[in-house]
């Protein structure tokens, strides 16, 4: 009961306070990799906590014992006690529904997002096969289109796609920067990270934290690829390529947001070249991320872990009498149980 309350409370805390705080933080621009891990850990951990919290309501915690018969008896007693009064049964029912619903919804949405992506990519790849022509010198598929655009098609047969408009708008160094950026997406399998965050957002459309996690993972994946591109190309060439293609990109149907654009922010970040997070701060961040994930798992598995620390086996000295007691018959079970 306490574990269930702790888990559900933790999920609520992550979604209501953790996500807004992470969205407001300024360090993610300096450590996009850590920030992607933090967002995925936050979203995944919240979903897992709700599931485990539901399970914790169903299964009352029982002190784990090395003695199987003892454990079973304890289980039966605890289960009987919980289901004896109607409130307990109702709570357990609600917990079961919660755990099942969350698991089913997340699995369904993840499967749907991944298969929809794979299908759309296959169709798009066929289309590219018809209208595009591979350019082995660039290692990309070029398509005749006046609008400048560059993107990559992830998955099995990876492809970088460039329009003729993009090639015309870029100089040599900028073109290399674009290719390095898109290949970093493919190498890092960023589409999987974005898809996972997207699946959670699709599973719980009413919860803003999941939508925020999806947007932020998508944004940070771009920063990650920008950083990878600067490792291979001059920083200002990456910035120049972004500016050249961004300024020539068509106005989106939704219109431009007020203030600066996301791509503009990436250009400013490349020009300013913020120092990456210090080693100590990154390590602390990684520990925090690990703790985010570990908390629900440890809380749910708490009783079992606590039992590991206990000395439920008879000491070596006591082993002989204990064995004797066991052979003496059923009375021995009671003696052993009392000893634990």
């Amino acid at each position: 009961m306490i574990a269930a309350a702790a888990l559900l409370g933790y999920a609520g805390l992550l979604l209501a306070a953790g996500a807004p705080a992470l969205a407001r933080a300024r360090w993610p621009d300096r450590a996009p990799r850590l920030a992607v891990a933090a967002w995925l850990a936050l979203a995944g951990s919240a979903a897992a906590s709700v599931t485990l919290g539901g399970l914790a309501l169903v299964v009352p915690t029982v002190r784990v014992s090395a003695d199987l018969a003892d454990l079973l008896t304890a289980c039966v007693m605890a289960l009987r006690a919980q289901y004896a009064h109607p409130g307990g049964a109702a709570l357990a029912g609600a917990g079961a529904v919660l755990a099942l619903a969350v698991t089913a919804r997340v699995s369904w949405c993840t499967a749907r997002t991944l298969t929809a992506g794979a299908l759309a990519r296959r169709r798009h790849r066929r289309g590219l096969g018809l209208a595009g022509h591979p350019d082995p010198r660039l290692g990309a598929v070029v398509i005749d289109h006046h609008e400048p655009a560059a993107y990559c098609l992830p998955g099995g047969r990876r492809q970088v796609v460039l329009t003729t408009g993009a090639i015309a708008a870029l100089d040599h160094a900028q073109l290399a920067a674009v290719l390095a950026h898109e290949r970093a997406h493919q190498r890092g399998r960023h589409h999987l990270l974005v898809s996972l965050a997207g699946a959670l957002a699709a599973a719980f459309p009413r919860i803003p934290a999941f939508r925020q996690a999806h947007e932020q993972v998508a944004r940070l994946a771009e920063l990650l690829a920008d950083d990878a591109a600067t490792a291979a190309c001059p920083r200002l060439a990456v910035a120049g390529a972004l500016l050249a293609l961004g300024a020539a990109a068509p106005v989106p149907a939704a219109g431009l947001g007020a203030g600066g654009s996301a791509t503009g922010a990436r250009v400013r970040r490349l020009i300013a070249a913020p120092r990456p997070l210090s080693r100590a701060a990154s390590a602390a961040g990684m520990l925090t991320v690990a703790a985010l994930v570990a908390f629900p798992l440890l809380t749910a598995a708490g009783p079992a872990l606590a039992a590991r620390g206990e000395n439920y086996c008879p000491h070596a000295a006591a082993a002989a009498p204990a064995a004797a007691a066991r052979s003496a018959g059923t009375a021995g079970w009671c003696g052993l149980s009392a000893g634990c």
């Binding site: 990519r121 096969g129 018809l130 209208a131 560059a150 500016l243 068509p250």
Partner: protein, 121 residues
């Protein structure tokens, strides 16, 4: 399957580059490496049924024409891949999203300054 896709692409390429509608025999004659006539005929009919080609009767044969120009087809394909209103499950984001003209002007200036600072150093 891969070979089939390549043949589809080669046939569409011939039809798109031609001045007018083509007979299957004419498509077949220009394909390199040479393919069996019946294979070409089958694939052309598949493309017709999929809606990529239209045809008009000429004597006992059909003349085939693409339903959209290569440019229109490419534009449709790009729109599908990059349209901001769909969730773009197929591709990652395009390399750069739109930067408005005012912002682009400021960024050009900032970039120019950074370049000059870099040269001086």
């Amino acid at each position: 399957m891969r070979g089939f896709g390549e043949l589809e692409a080669a046939i569409m390429d011939r039809i798109w580059s031609a001045d007018g509608p083509l007979l299957v025999r004419e498509v077949h004659a220009t394909l390199r490496p040479e393919r069996a006539y019946n294979t070409v005929l089958t694939v052309v009919e598949i493309l017709y049924r999929k809606g990529w080609l239209t045809r008009e009767k000429e004597g006992r044969a059909y003349r085939y024409r693409a339903t959209a120009t290569r440019e229109d087809y490419a534009a449709g394909l790009m729109g599908e891949a990059l349209d901001a209103s769909t969730d773009r499950a197929a591709t990652l984001r395009r390399f750069a999203e739109r930067i408005g003209p005012d912002e682009a002007g400021q960024l050009h200036e900032a970039l120019e300054q950074a370049r000059r600072a870099g040269e001086r150093r």
